[in-house]
Amino acid sequence: MPEVDASFLALPRHELASAALQRAKDLGATFAEFRLERIRSESISLRDGVLESASDDEDLGLAVRVIHDGTWGFAAGVALSTDEAVRIAEQAVHLAQVSRPINSEPIELADEPVYDDVTWVSEYEIDPLSLPRAEKVALLTDYSNRLLQAEGVSHVTAHVTSVNECKFYANSEGTSTTQQRVRIGPDIQAIAVDAETGRFDSMASCVPPAGRGWEYMTGTGWNWDEELAQIPGWLAEKMAAPSVEAGAYDLVIDPTNLWLTIHESIGHATELDRALGYEANYAGTSFATLDKLNTLKYGSPVMHVTGDRIAEHGLSTVGYDDEGVAGQQWDLVKDGILVGYQVDRRMAKVNEGVLGTSRSNGCAYADSAGHIPIQRMANVSLQPVPDGPSTEELIAKVKNGIYIVGDKSWSIDMQRYNFQFTGQRFYKITDGKLDGQLRDVAYQATTTDFWGSMEAVGGPQTYVLGGALNCGKAQPAQSGAVTHGCPSALFRGVRILNTTQEAGR
């Protein structure tokens, strides 16, 4: 079991917190919280098996957020001195005072038990940042060369991002938490260029980012040997594949693709801050408004979606969120009906009557010391059906359809209705069997129609965790990492576009 890095524990976290919280209290703040955060990251990129760039970064800073006269104030800085902690507390109070005339809502927070000096560390074996750079570059070089040496592969790109996030949080209610999370995001793809026509295409590994360490790169949680051996063949087949005929098709969607559709059409749509309009100027709102809670038919009766911050290896998994709320799991969609939201302490308090609970489900997150905590996405996952079918059994139910594997292009509207996705591989399904790849495929639908067309959900044997490191939200923009577990699933009559025709060619 890994422990929090000694070098982080050596920082004067309690001393800085005490100074800041005391100063905020002395200045009349009714609530104050302090964060000390250190994010170490490494990024390695290879192009055609040659190291193109590698860098390691560390972002270390402290932040204070207060409620003063019913108004938020937030300030952040970088110097780890008690003088600076005090100055930042003063600045946060000052900002609350400047903002008071344009705030019309007295801020109150939902209650949460006090957690006194608790520690939590995510599940991983090897912190990638603890290994020599050369060892990591050598592995990526090997993986790149396996692809480059195959016939039909013109270029290969390989990239890995690794993050070690240490966070200390303390608030004026007496909670203090020290946490460390490790995550890794590999990205490897082969590119083919047809020398005669100039047509090019790519085939990427379906490996998702995960709350794991370097062991993920060497076979724990992902079968690299098998996938790397198959990518060149898949790419060659895609280059020679016929172009899809646009129309309505039955789809079997692999979890390597479906996670992103869940992210966009359920994950963001069930963020209460969006439903309430707080993101209307940027990330957008949601069709799943609070008045529809417990009545909106989100999808077919086989649809069961949970939110959680506790899944093992989940990218949104924490011990405690950035408001000191313990990690939980809850239902968002049950039997196809909208039954829950992702919230933070303020939203939980304001809407406790409608939500039917007075506790936050712990979705506050700030991506760095320099940013304010906002409601960010939990791990939002489609639950498999116990004893449910395999992917092959789902495919067997389709006469004329497409099996979609891997994510690629994605886009959804500001209210989370209309989406369009592509993928890595599209297999034609004829009479219940795979019948070769197709190309130029995109699927387009309206969220509730799409989930309403979900006829069957796969069993636990098809369940895979997907996810992203770079989910964007808020102004100033913050980046979030999140996992989505899902099984394979069968959808009837979904609109398929031919992207070459869409381009007017």
């Binding site: 270390l60 344009i102 309009g277 509207d413 209705y417 102004q475 609109r495």
Partner: protein, 469 residues
Amino acid sequence: MTTVIQLTPQDTIERALDLAAAEGADGCVVLVAETSSANLRWANNTLTTNGAMRGSSVTVIATVGAGEGTAAGVAGRSSATEAELRDLVSAAVAAARAAGPAEDARPLVDGTVSPGWDEEPDETSVNVYEKFAPALGEALSRAGKENRWLYGFADHEVITLYVGSSTGLRLRQSLPRGFVTATGKSGDLSQSAWVGAATRDFSDIDPLAIDAELTRRLGWATRTIAVDAGRHPTVLTPAAVADLATYVYWRLEGRDAYEGRSVFSKPSGGTRIGDVLSPHPVGLRSDPRLAGLESFPFAVARSSGGSSSVFDNGLTLSATDWIRGGKLENLMQSRFTADLTGAPAVTPPIGNYVLSVDGATGSVDDLVAGLDRGLLVTCLWYIRVVEPQTLLLTGLTRDGVYLVENGEVTGAVNNFRFNESPVDLLARFTAAGATVPSFSREWGDEFSRTATPPLLVPDFNMSSVSQAN
């Protein structure tokens, strides 16, 4: 009491260069960025979040001999104290020693000392909103009384960048950057409009005027008309053109094009430099010294890639034509990729662009006045690449699509998903207006220094209707 000795940016650079030399590095470049910012965010007619932040970052790029070549190592930290700086430099030197010869190795850029090198970082604070904040309060209260909802964000940031190198570079440049974006919705939330603008200091931003423009556009929506998907004559505002053109700008990478995997690759091999992309006299140009859109006048690269190199830090940037007279003139190139691809010049990325059509005059209103029937699109959203070969993009209209009939806006229209290639649009537009400073809805928060014209596209591909409103 914890005591911390904070070094000045200049001292940080001198100390780091000395430490790198002591560690045996052959060369070293140090970048120190001091950033301050202040922001206000509002929704549902009230303030939601705010912040005043100060940050700094130190990046050390060390080079060492590696066989017959040179290797580079990069390490970055926020807030390097004297003790941390030693670790940071060691990490960069160790990374260089662990790396093989870099493909993009070139001699470090020779030194000049820029005027003002000794000056402290410039700063901003919440005081930049001294006049803006009360006026915003007035606008929020007015909107509440008039049954209208306002949402928005104001951000102001000042970055002061110091670059020093073992070859004598001592560059200092400060850049302010500010913007405001605002969304207005009707009382029943059924209609929505958006306005955005970039600014250097907020002296030119009036929240009440923004609210008035939102009110004007919401007024257009008192009549709503359902329009089907399909190819429609469409006027794109400068903001919507910036939403699309920013993608063209970002895809100008020289190496991808040379390797056959970009919209700017020639099917027979090599790049499309010299190809005519548009029958119109279209220009796409960057100039770091352009008044109002100033960006860093020297290359800044914390990592190497297909158009930039850490070895090129400090390279003087000059005005560059990417497209001139409709012809592709240059792609983005480091010294390495320029050699690799046989490019006509070393043309690194620059932090602004101007898209223009020679001889085009008039505004959005003039293009609208000349249109019998079609759409007016004010901004686009969630734009992603569908097919890199043609640079086919998908995305959506948002917060303001209007019907134009007989030269006038006659009502609001539902939203659409589009599938279009901005490179194709440069050839297919049939009318353009004058280029003006613009603010991209999709990318302005991170790339705000743009100037674009409004365009009329006779057959913009609205692929399906979006129910969003």
